[in-house]
Subunit: 328 residues, 2 copies
Amino acid sequence: MDHIALLGLGTVGGGVAEILMKNRSDITAKTGLDIDIKHILDLRKFPDHPLGDRVTDDYNLILGDPEVTLVAEMMGGVHPAYEFTAEALRAKKSVVTSNKAVVAEYGVELLELAAENGVRYLFEASVGGGIPIIHSMTDSMYASDIYEIDGILNGTTNYILSAMKETGVSFDAALKDAQKLGYAEANPTEDVDGFDACRKICILAAMASGRLVYFRDVPTKGIREITTDDIKAASAKGGAIKLIAKALFKENGEIELSVAPEVVYPDNPLFNVNGVYNGVLVRGRNSGDLLFYGSGAGKLPTAGAVISDIIDILLHKNEMPAQKLWHK
Amino acid sequence: MDHIALLGLGTVGGGVAEILMKNRSDITAKTGLDIDIKHILDLRKFPDHPLGDRVTDDYNLILGDPEVTLVAEMMGGVHPAYEFTAEALRAKKSVVTSNKAVVAEYGVELLELAAENGVRYLFEASVGGGIPIIHSMTDSMYASDIYEIDGILNGTTNYILSAMKETGVSFDAALKDAQKLGYAEANPTEDVDGFDACRKICILAAMASGRLVYFRDVPTKGIREITTDDIKAASAKGGAIKLIAKALFKENGEIELSVAPEVVYPDNPLFNVNGVYNGVLVRGRNSGDLLFYGSGAGKLPTAGAVISDIIDILLHKNEMPAQKLWHK
C-alpha cells in the first residue's frame, strides 16, 4: 500500500479523494497500486466526509510521516503552497500539483529542488484540466520539432466569447451569466484579463523548450474590451474571436509568447473549441498539427489529471526517471 | 551511444532515419541520448541513401549483434514481421512498431514474450499516426473511467467522405482521386472496407481494457455503399457521414466493438475531423470527453511516433517499466 497526503480538500482535492475511493479497485487492477490517502491538510473540518478523520491542520504531521512518500498540493494560490511544496521536496517526498500559479512562478526552482532530493515534481493538472497535454509533451514529442503552440487555455473566457457569439449578449451580461453558473469568480480579473491563460502558455512553452519565461514579461491582453460589434464583424467574415495564448519558437532559439483575442477561422482546429472547453494546438515540423481538446477545468477531469501524476510517481518509485530541468 | 536497427527503409523507416539524422542534436539536447542506426534490414539496395552502407538483407546480423538493444519494425504486413518481432524479443531486444496488423493479430503473444524476456514492445505509431493516443492511454487515463471510444482512424476513407461532401463527387470518383494523390492503395479494400480502422479500434480498446478482441469478430462495414444521395441527406440534416470505429465498455465488463459509417452532427467533436486527418474521442465518466486530433498517417508524423517509443525505451533501459499484458 502506498500512503499519500492531500493538501487541500476543496474542489480538486475533493475530486481526488472521490475518485481514489470510487475507482480504487479499478485503479488497483490497472496499476497494481493500492493508494491510501493517509492525511489531508485543510484548515476546515469535514465531519461528514468519509475521510474526515484524516483531516489535519498540522503540516508537520505530514512532513514528519515517513510512510508518506507523495504529497498532492491542491491548495491554490502561491503562498503558502510554494513553501509547503518546497518543504515536502526537501523532506524527499515527491509532489504533484494542479497549481499553475506556483508552477509558473517557481517551476525552475522546484524542479531543481526535486532533482537535488531525488524525487519528482509533476503538474499535469496545471494546464488544460483533464487534457493529458503535459504528459504528451513530456513523453511523445521529442521528435516533433515544435515551432508553435496555440491554446485556448481558459474556459471562463471561452465560455463568455462563445455566449456572446451565440446569443448576441454583451461582455458584461455574459460575464454575469458565467458567474451565476460558477464558471467565473466574483473577481474575474485572473480569467478575463488573460493572466490565467498566460501562466499556462508559459508552462507549455517551458515543456517544449526547457525555458520558463516569466509570465509578467509576456504581453497579455484579455477580453474585457471585446464588443458585440467585434463579435459580429468576425462572424460576418466567417470567423470567431477566441482568446489565444501563443508560443512561437524561432529557429534562433528565441521564444515569443503572447495572450490576446484573435479572429480564428474554420480552417483552424481551435475554431470549434467552444464553451468551457480547452484546446491546445501543437504545431511541429515533423508531427504536423496536433489538437488536444477536452474539459479545461472541473472537479473530476482535473482530479483525474492529478491522479495520473500520482500513479506515474508511485509506479516508478524504485527508480525515479530524471526530469528535465527548466532554466529562466 | 545507443545502437538500434530498423526493419524496413520504406516510408516510415525512411522517415525515422531522416528525423534521427536531421534532429539528432536536438534529440540529444532533450533526452541525453545519442541514437545510432547501426543496421537497416531491407531486401532492396539504397546506394544513394546516406545510411545506404548500413542496409543488409541478413536478419541474423541484427539478431546476433549484442550492441543492438532495440529493433524498430516498419516492414508492414503480418509475415515475416511477426516472426522477426518474436525473434528480436527472444534475443532480449525491445521492439517498437508502426505495424497495426501485427499488433492486432499477435499483440497478446508479443506483449507476453516481451515480459518473459525483460524487454518491451511498444506501438504508438500503429494507431493515429503522429497522435500520441497510445502513450496517453498508457500513462494518463488510469482514473478516466472510460466508457466509450469513437475514432476516425482511417485517413483514406475520411478523405473520400470529405471529398464526396465538399464537391459532390461519387465514391468511385473520390476513390480514384485519392489513389492519384497517394492517399489510397491500388487495392483499396483494407481502407475502404473498414478493416484498417477495425484493427486500430481493437488496439485502442485493448489499451483501455486489457482485452484484445480479435478483429475478425468485430462487425465491420466500410464506405463502398455510401452514395451521393446519402451524403446529401446527411448534409440536409446538418450532419456528415464519417466512418466511425467504436468501442463501448459496459458496466458488466463486456466490450462492444464496431466499425460503420455514421451520421455525425456538429455537437460531436469528430464532426470537424476532415480530409486525411484522424480523430479519437475518448469518453470517460471522470475525464469527460477528450479529443485527440492530428495526422493519422504520413512519413514524418508516423516516424515521430516510432521515435517517441524508441526514446521511451532507451531512457528506461536500466529499469524496464512493467508493461500491462493483454488477454483475449
